[in-house]
């Protein structure tokens, strides 16, 4: 308990007290750039969550229901973005999509590059949330529906999706929260330009420019947004479990 308070509680308390200094909050709330960056961060986090939903569910389905050689390897590969240091994620994406790109896609310093980096680091969330649910779902209901003439898309919409919906939304929320605070993976590929910055970069820049109060206010905004996401997730999943 003492350890936790010393390691986590005290620094966070220091952060809160720092943000209460002078006019940190009003600076942040009125600063055009900070507001634009937080807006872009929320927007790109939403894009990532939606793309992750599609690719994550598709990945989980392929890993559970499909069978092909190398499936186990692909399954192990999914966790790689969690194991790989974020700066290495940025480095490898820079190699393929940066100035020396061998395939002609120049994404360094663009918002597309930022999106790529965030898709990279958030890849496992939806897949790993949906996979166990899909695994526990017997395929005989799907087979029965197919026998009765349901098309694959109908089967997915009517049978699979309702079952995996809570897990998929949980994965999306985790991905969204992760993207809100992401830093390392966008550092190299984003290029630290005004239009590609996400919230964490503004915080780091504020600290470097000797404005830790503003950084603290922006940082607390991020924490509050992340907590709101988890709160909403809790409400939604509780409602679904009551109706289901």
């Amino acid at each position: 308990m003492l350890y936790l308070s010393l390691l986590v509680g005290l620094p966070v308390a220091a952060l809160i007290s720092l943000s209460l200094h002078s006019n940190a909050w009003s600076t942040v709330l009125h600063d055009q750039h900070t507001r634009a960056v937080i807006g872009f961060t929320l927007f790109v986090a939403a894009c990532v969550a939606v793309i992750d939903l599609v690719t994550g569910v598709a990945l989980a389905w392929v890993l559970v229901r499909d069978d092909f050689r190398g499936r186990r390897l692909v399954n192990a590969l999914i966790d790689l973005p969690f194991a790989l240091p974020t700066i290495v994620a940025s480095l490898v994406l820079l190699a393929l999509y940066g100035p020396d790109t061998p395939i002609g896609v120049h994404a360094a310093g663009t918002r597309f590059g930022v999106l790529l980096a965030l898709l990279f680091v958030s890849l496992p969330f939806v897949t790993r949330a949906v996979q166990p649910v899909l695994l526990s779902l017997e395929s005989d209901v799907e087979d029965a529906a197919a026998c009765l003439g349901a098309k694959p898309w109908t089967i997915f919409r009517q049978i699979i999706f309702p079952a995996i919906r809570p897990a998929a939304v949980t994965g999306m929320a985790l991905a969204f929260a992760r993207v809100l605070g992401e830093y390392g993976s966008v550092v190299l590929i984003g290029g630290n330009l005004p239009h590609t910055e996400i919230a964490s970069q503004v915080i780091a820049n504020d600290v470097e420019n000797g404005a830790p109060q503003a950084a603290a206010a922006t940082g607390l905004t991020l924490i509050i947004l992340a907590l709101l996401v988890f709160l909403a997730l809790g409400v939604v999943t509780r409602r679904w479990s009551r109706h289901g």
Partner: protein, 266 residues
């Protein structure tokens, strides 16, 4: 038809996002043979970065494992005061941006910070040294062990521990002879995750480091530093070293996951 479309669509996505970029870095690293890579990894700056990363990991991991197991045990077996606050503090490092964690540590140990002012008065260098970097790493990697161990402890129940204590075992004996063997896979798994995070942390450590080459750069910071100084060979070599370490960690976990589960079912 649709099945194949989905399968290859998914595999292409994975290839473009994961496999090809990592493969390309591996290729670029060894483009001119192994000589330059060896030179890049044995340069004094790189050696210093490797040493610092190992030092910080060697501090953060044991502390977090011991306190992580202790915290999980207390949460599961004893009444904690204000359990919701304890839970919030354990999960907070996952909900916080690493940069914000770095900033919180920075503020606490800065010249006018609550702890920092005393350290400065005593002339103990802390912020911008490996000490602050180790504290930031401990913060970031705090939740892994607790979160792996807690559910296993809860599921285990207290029957065996009670039996041990009825037979005259002390609380310590019961913990080391009964509880610890039962949770060992969770402890090992959590430890590996902690190591991976401690070695790879960038954002939090970046904020509390003085970023001096050869002194206060960990491996991830060194990678970034080399990229900004247009030294691709050193950047790719250090980056690939980190990637290989995380691949080893990943395969270790995959194997552990299998053997651990096998033992659980027996």
């Amino acid at each position: 038809m649709g099945k194949y479309l989905l399968r290859y669509g998914v595999l292409t996505y994975l290839a473009l996002l994961l496999v090809v970029p990592i493969g390309l870095v591996a290729y670029r690293t060894f483009e001119n043979g192994i000589g330059p890579v060896w030179d890049a990894l044995t340069s004094p700056q790189a050696i210093s970065a490797i040493k610092l990363s190992l030092l910080i990991t060697a501090i953060a991991v044991p502390v977090n494992v011991v306190f992580g197991v202790a915290t999980a045990w207390f949460l599961s077996r004893r009444k904690m005061p204000v359990p919701w606050l304890v839970n919030a503090m354990i999960n907070l490092p996952f909900a916080m941006s690493p940069v914000v964690i770095g900033l919180a540590v920075y503020q606490l140990y800065s010249r006018d910070g609550w702890i920092g002012q005393h350290l400065f008065a005593e002339n103990i260098p802390f912020l911008f040294t490996w000490r602050a970097m180790a504290v930031a790493t401990m913060f970031v990697s705090l939740p892994f062990v607790v979160r792996e161990v807690l559910p296993v402890l809860d599921e285990l129940g207290t029957e065996q521990e009670q039996a041990a204590e009825m037979l005259g075992a002390s609380a310590l004996q019961s913990f080391f002879r009964v509880t610890l063997p039962a949770i060992r896979w969770a402890v090992i798994y959590g430890t590996i995750l902690t190591v991976a995070r401690a070695l790879g942390e960038y954002g939090a450590v970046n904020l509390v480091s003085s970023n001096v080459v050869g002194q206060t750069l960990t491996l991830p910071l060194y990678v970034q530093n080399r990229v900004s100084n247009f030294d691709p060979t050193a950047a790719y070599s250090a980056g690939l070293l980190l990637a290989v370490i995380s691949l080893l960690i990943l395969s270790g976990m995959t194997m552990l996951g299998r053997s651990g589960r096998k033992e659980d079912t027996v």
